[in-house]
Amino acid sequence: MSVLTHSGALAQRSLIKTMRTPEALIDVTIQPVIFLLLFTYLFGGAIGDGDRHAYLQFLLPGMLAQSLAMGGVALGQNLNADIEKGVFDRFRSLPISRAAPLVGAVLADVVRYLSVCLVMLTFGTIMGFRVETGFLPAVAAVALSVGFGLCFCWISVWVGMIVRTSGAVQGVMFMLVLPLTFGSNVFVATDTLPGWLQAFVQVNPITPLVATIRGLLVGGPVAAHLTVTLIWMAGLLVVFVPLALRAYARRA
């Protein structure tokens, strides 16, 4: 159980660092709001056939998922920079699990994913978004979002361990996150897309996540999408946690 207490202490370290540099939260606070404004008011009229409110109801759950995926990028960048600075040498020389520094950093990211959810729901409400289901489904949507963020960010952790600079982490991660989030049901209904793109959207892990959040916030089928999403989350952990830990151990 000491892995948990050590990870907890290291998560606290990350949180202190976040509190000291609040500007590091821009990508999970102001940036999602800018995207929301941009897509609602600039493209919303054209995409939503004139009905901006209906488009916002459609868009916000999807943008939540996109912001979560993008929100994990900073974690890999920070870990990459930390490792260069020698702080991790000290952790390595301590009698703690090798996983603890990475697990601790991931746990601290809960704060970032919660920020994404709260900021987007609050600002969305100001723009006219309305939860059409109820309080508990909305809480479930936030919980699922944070949970997905915690699983998805292990990709970023792994990339952070294998590339040389933190700038490269961002480059690699955006090459992955942009196709995944735009090539999905985030911005437009899947049936408006050409067949080959529909095929990609159907196998994209972001798609069931967005469908689940949509169901939980504005109504619609949930169970089947939720099952697929949970399978994806487990799959992400099973593949990328061991990859990240092995890459961390090798990077001495």
Binding site: T5, H6, T21, V87, R90
Partner: protein, 323 residues
């Protein structure tokens, strides 16, 4: 058998084209200071990283505090403290937060971790900066915090990788005091340095490394004897008294040597130097000059530089490639 707290045999480590460690043997007796002396790139840091379980060697064995570093790194980590060459404190955390974090990671209860942090901060003269983020610290303060962090768990063996590089002389002496106090407490210290002066001041034994090989392992006195010992340099207030100074210095000269005026290019004239073998020579010379009424404005005992050490031990200058 001797009580060896660090014992390494045949350590080899290669990074691409560079043979960082080329069959290195190390031995450190419990309760002593071992100085690992060598220039940049000699393999000092690699050796420390292997012993501190950060790096696996390609070949060789190492035991720290009786535990096999390769087989049981976790047990080794319970017994060591490491201060790396680059201050490994967290810049965003305050001094207290840095030390409390280490304490928590060493499974101290929260209150004990806090108490240990306060104790160490006070001991290192950082209590006033305790609540400030480490990024506001000066280089010397950061080094002290870094060293404090490696002492949180009362380690049995302490590894210090160039603990004073970049510090001014006064701060360096402070650091030396800390090292000595740790030995008094019963710890054993392995420190790397580029300065013979530092190794001489602290170490019970010195290992000289070059290109990943140990080229000498000796006591400081033994090493100084081998590399020609020290040089005593004197400047009389009255340049006319230089002949008297030469006569005094001849009397304390190392066997087979004589005193000479310093006429090397670049040095200010009016001084005389002599190789000496013991620190007592300095006291003898001072007493003799006072007896003869020679007033002195400059008096210094110089240790050979790392370059001179290397030149003597290897017969070549450091910049030349090994033959």
């Amino acid at each position: 058998m001797e009580d060896l707290v660090v014992r390494a045999e045949g350590l080899r480590k290669r990074f691409g084209e560079t043979q960082a460690l080329d069959s290195v043997d190390l031995a450190m007796r419990r309760g002593t200071v071992l100085g690992v002396l060598g220039p940049n790139g000699a393999g000092k840091t690699t050796a420390v990283r292997v012993l501190a379980t950060l790096l696996r060697p390609d070949e060789g064995t190492a035991f720290v505090a009786g535990v096999d570093v390769l087989k049981h790194p976790d047990q080794v980590r319970r017994k060591i403290g490491l201060t790396g060459q680059y201050a490994s404190v967290d810049e965003d955390l305050t001094g207290t937060q840095n030390l409390v974090l280490i304490g928590r990671l060493l499974d101290m209860p929260g209150r004990d971790a806090k108490r240990r942090a306060v104790e160490l901060l006070e001991w290192f003269g950082l209590q006033e900066a305790a609540g400030r983020p480490a990024k506001t610290y000066s280089g010397g303060m950061r080094r002290r915090l870094d060293l404090a962090a490696s002492l949180v768990g009362h380690p049995e063996v302490i590894f210090l990788d160039e603990p004073t590089t970049g510090l001014d002389p006064a701060k360096r002496e402070d650091m030396w005091g800390v090292v000595r106090s740790q030995v008094t407490r019963g710890a054993s210290v392995l420190l790397t340095t580029q300065y013979l002066e530092e190794a001489d001041a602290l170490a019970d034994e010195i290992v000289v490394v070059d290109h990943g090989r140990v080229i000498a392992h000796d006591t400081p006195d033994g090493l100084k004897r081998r590399v020609g010992g020290q040089t005593l340099k004197v400047r009389p207030a009255d340049p006319e008294r230089l002949p008297d100074v030469l006569r005094v210095l001849d009397a304390v000269a190392a066997p087979g040597t004589t005193a000479a005026k310093d006429e090397a290019a670049g040095s200010r004239p009016g001084t005389a130097s002599v190789p000496v073998t013991s620190d007592a020579a300095l006291a003898d010379a001072v007493a003799q000059m006072r007896a003869e009424g020679v007033e002195v404005t400059e008096l210094a005992l110089h240790l050979p530089s790392l370059d001179e050490v290397f030149h003597t031990l290897t017969g070549r200058t450091r910049t030349e490639a090994p033959v």
